[in-house]
């Protein structure tokens, strides 16, 4: 089947971000045709030549940065755009009209698909005036503080950039044609703006979509906007947008696959249906790595992570001061680069003050994570929050015993195979470290158990198997040709064997794309009437 994989960011750079997760998925399922839809930074990355051969093609759209020059809509169209935009903005700022978000979004998308002048409208003075008028209505929730002229400018700009995927030339004309309309299903990796094309494709063509999130987009936005230089009304507007978008995505998604149960709680909070949610851990190729070699001669604690207050290297240093009081030979190796300016110097000064500077080594970025774990006897994590399991899982795969603060995903990842201590408690952390450093048999047992647990949870094959099943289950419940079985308008012949037999069996029992059982049937609980109609009727309605 044809899978459109939508994601955001700098995917081709192997050292950053999700690395090869999408590549691994596409290579692991060679029976499907994968096409990559990439939302990039200010400039298109030009990944076409660096692409793994598993992809059938790649389409890129610059999400941030300068707006592509397109002509402005005419006066009549502008009024239609303004009405749809006003509906969207009202849903964002008026607490009583939140339900209108989806309708406004789809109307904007339909208008953009007809003439492609959405970007020009959103950047125009009309859009700003609309935003300003709605924003200053009595009862608008601006979270304290009226919006000023500068807020209108910044807010309209940011909204324009976020809504750019609506005017992407990706949607095609339906089954049989190219683009998202011709795909059997969409797979959104990462959520956020990357889910916009999938929402539109689902609305226009009835294409179901899966959402995979490793580290929730919405939570990242809340954390990112906290440090952003915007005034409160702008933050409130944009965060309301992201929240509404996330809720709409969770409501419309056929299946959600968060990367941990910790993320699943957030998704449930934002309206995800637990019946359509499956936790699929992020597979890592480090599973195939052999366990780390013999332990170093000197008892050594190894700490790895970005040097920033959130990782709380200070707690590690305070705890280590107590460890070295009990075990003077112990050493501490800190791997990682500075992520907050001046933090490394701060930590070095702290080590000096605790008079442990001789036993602490700031080793910078290791050649590979495996080398980092091998240099220690026990791996220690002292972070205040663990949003993603990857680093913890990597440490466990090395076969070294793990001590971690009990935050975020730590309990779920480490489980009974490591020691968990409360955060911000140096005495507890030091006690756990000392207990493991002094008991070789215990740490060997915990290390092995941790390695086995991580190998079971974070292997690549289960991920691929899970998505193979999810894909099959989805297409068996959504019709291949929602228009009634004919080929697409582009004249391409229909592909009767593009669907498994289950679909044709299931189709006899169904009135529309959504009324079947299973994941799609649970969709009705979302309560959005728009998605329940047939796509053809919808196209007329908007």
């Amino acid at each position: 089947m044809r899978v459109a994989l939508l994601t955001e960011g700098a995917r081709p750079y192997p050292r950053r971000g999700d690395g090869g997760w999408c590549d691994r998925l596409a290579e692991g399922l060679p029976e499907h045709e994968f096409e990559l839809y990439l939302l990039t930074g200010p400039t298109a990355l030009g990944v076409g030549d660096r692409l793994s051969p598993a992809w059938r093609g790649v389409r890129e759209l610059a999400l941030w940065g300068r707006r592509p020059g397109v002509r402005a809509p005419g006066a009549l169209r502008r009024r239609q755009y303004a009405r749809a935009y006003e509906e969207l903005v009202r849903a964002l700022v008026l607490p009583g009209e939140r339900a209108g978000f989806g309708a406004g979004l789809y109307r904007l998308a339909a208008l953009a698909r007809e003439d492609g002048t959405l970007a020009a409208f959103l950047a125009s003075a009309h859009a700003r005036r609309t935003l300003e008028r709605v924003w200053r209505l009595p009862g608008a929730d601006t979270s304290g503080g009226q919006p000023l002229a500068c807020d209108v400018l910044v807010g309209a700009d940011l909204l324009e950039q976020c809504l750019r995927p609506l005017s992407a030339p990706w949607y095609g004309t339906g089954t049989g044609s190219g683009g998202l309309g011709g795909a059997d299903l969409c797979h959104v990796v990462g959520g956020g703006p990357a889910a916009l094309p999938a929402l539109v494709a689902r609305h226009l063509h009835g294409v179901p979509f899966v959402v995979t999130e490793h580290g929730l987009h919405l939570r990242e936005q809340y954390l990112g906007y906290r440090e952003a230089p915007y005034r409160r009304p702008v933050r409130a507007l944009l965060l309301a947008f992201f929240r509404a978008l996330t809720e709409e995505t969770y409501r419309q998604a056929a299946i959600l696959t968060p990367g941990s149960s910790h993320d699943q709680q957030w998704q449930r909070r934002c309206g995800a249906d637990p019946g359509r949610t499956r936790v699929v851990y992020e597979g890592t190729p480090a599973v195939a790595r052999p366990a780390a070699g013999p332990e170093p001669d000197v008892p050594t604690l190894v700490w790895a992570g970005a040097l920033e207050p959130g990782r709380d290297a200070e707690l590690m240093l305070h705890a280590f001061a107590q460890v070295s009081a009990g075990l003077p030979a112990a050493r501490l190796v800190i791997h990682g680069e500075e992520a907050a300016p001046g933090y490394r110097a701060h930590c070095e000064a702290l080590a000096e003050r605790l008079s442990i500077a001789g036993a602490v080594e700031f080793a910078g970025r290791p050649g590979s994570l495996a080398e980092a774990w091998e240099s220690g006897t026990v791996a220690v994590f002292s972070a205040l929050s663990q949003r993603r399991p990857r680093l913890l899982a990597d440490a466990m795969l090395s076969g070294r015993a793990v001590v971690s603060t009990d935050v975020g995903v730590a309990r779920e990842v480490v489980g009974p195979t490591g020691l968990l201590v409360p955060p911000r408690d140096p005495r507890a952390l030091a006690g756990a470290c000392l207990a493991l450093l002094r008991d070789e048999e215990r740490r060997a047992r915990l290390g092995l158990a941790g390695r086995l647990r991580a190998q079971e949870r974070f292997a690549v094959e289960p991920v691929i198997g899970a998505f193979r099943e999810i894909y099959l289950e989805l297409v068996s419940q959504f019709p291949a040709f929602p228009d009634g079985g004919g080929g697409g308008a582009a004249g391409e012949p229909p592909r009767p064997f593009a669907r498994p037999a289950e679909f044709w069996l299931a189709d006899g029992l169904r009135g529309g794309p959504d009324t079947g059982g299973g994941p799609a049937g649970a969709d009705g609980s979302g309560g959005d009437d728009g998605a329940q109609e047939r796509p053809g009727a919808l196209a007329e309605a908007v």
Partner: protein, 368 residues
């Protein structure tokens, strides 16, 4: 694992309301938050989890965050901090613009208006608008917090500030227009060459004041942008600013021209019978009304394209800067004398430019 005494650095004394302790510790977060979920994310980031929520008698962190959001009042936003005024940068740009304009004009005046000299003199003039421009800020960017912005070991947090370059073709075209504008009068000077040279030198020095006026205009625009409540109010506030900026520049130009004429009167008195009156009177009389008006038009053609360029209208700036000398040249070709051609041709262009600038520069998006 859930010892109350060790929790989040709270004092060992048990308190009647554990939520109050959390509230006191995270007050800034709660006051700034726009949404309960933001508080939940912040609490999670600070190391609080299900245990902390249970201690506060809540089922999970989300309901604790909702209680905090309801109990802590939103503090009114402090007014946007005024940007540092960057007097040093403005003064440097002013001096650079003046020097880059005066030196070539002086060279042409000293060495004579021959082609090699004119071409060599045009180069620094053509580069002036690009050299004195502020580096463009680029469009607004959201905080780049998408997954993968930084990896676990603190990788290079790619500083993707989408700054454009200030070396754009329109800036060079604007520079070429400036070069023609300043070198043309000397090149075609007819009868009273010393007078023309003196007035052009005064205008060249005033390129610095045009730069200063443009920066002042931008600074005022930014200030009003942070203070005006609505876009309409912003336009109303900005309406008198453009005429004031232009008038300030013209006033400086008048003073400079007068000084240049005074020096000229001392160095090279007008030939002919002696005139009555003091130096000031003589200097004022040294140039006729047409010369003064042409000088005013020259000043307008200096400052208006610069204002447009500094507010992001590079193409309009380049068009205006090129159209002024072109119109003057066309009238010269029709047989008008130098000052008259400059006055009529340049004046028409300046009037159009002024109208356009009034319409465009009052909008908020010119000052982002």
């Amino acid at each position: 694992m859930s010892g109350g005494g060790t929790a989040a650095g709270s004092p060992g004394r048990p308190s009647g309301d554990p939520v109050r302790e959390v509230m006191a510790e995270h007050r800034a977060l709660c006051e700034r938050a726009v949404d309960p979920l933001e508080i939940a994310a912040g609490l999670e980031e600070a190391g609080l989890g299900a245990e902390a929520a249970a201690r506060c008698r809540h089922a999970d962190l989300f309901s604790l965050a909702e209680e905090l959001y309801a109990r802590v009042p939103r503090r009114p936003t402090p007014p946007p901090t005024a940007r540092d005024r960057q007097c040093g940068a403005a003064a440097r740009a002013t001096l650079t613009a003046a020097a880059l304009a005066v030196l070539p004009c002086a060279a042409v005046a000293g060495l004579g208006a021959r082609w090699p000299v004119l071409l060599a003199a045009a180069v620094p003039l053509a580069l002036t608008p690009a050299l004195t421009a502020e580096p463009p800020a680029g469009p607004v960017r959201p905080p780049f917090a998408s997954p993968g912005a930084a990896d676990e070991l603190g990788a290079e947090r790619s500083a993707q500030r989408g700054t454009g370059t200030r070396w754009r073709p329109a800036a060079l075209a604007h520079g070429v227009g400036l070069a023609v504008l300043l070198l043309l009068p000397t090149a075609v000077a007819g009868g009273d060459r010393p007078l023309t040279v003196a007035m052009v030198l005064a205008a060249a020095v005033s390129a610095g004041s045009a730069e200063r006026a443009a920066r002042w205009y931008r600074q005022v625009g930014r200030g009003h942008l942070g203070a005006a409540a609505t876009l309409a109010e912003f336009r109303a506030r900005m309406r008198p600013v453009l005429p004031v900026a232009v008038a300030l520049h013209l006033a400086v130009l008048t003073v400079l021209t007068f000084a240049a004429l005074a020096v000229l009167t001392v160095v090279a008195p007008r030939p002919g019978p002696g005139h009555g009156g003091g130096l000031l009177h003589l200097a004022a009389e040294r140039a006729g009304a047409v010369h003064w008006a042409a000088q005013g038009v020259l000043g307008l053609l200096l400052v208006l394209p610069l204002l447009l360029a500094r507010c992001g209208r590079w193409t309009a700036a380049a068009t205006g800067a090129l159209a002024g000398p072109a119109a003057a040249l066309a009238l010269l070709g029709l047989g008008r004398s130098g000052p008259v051609a400059g006055l009529l041709g340049g004046g028409a262009v300046a009037v159009v430019l002024f109208g356009y600038a009034c319409a465009v520069l009052g909008r908020a998006e010119a000052h982002r």
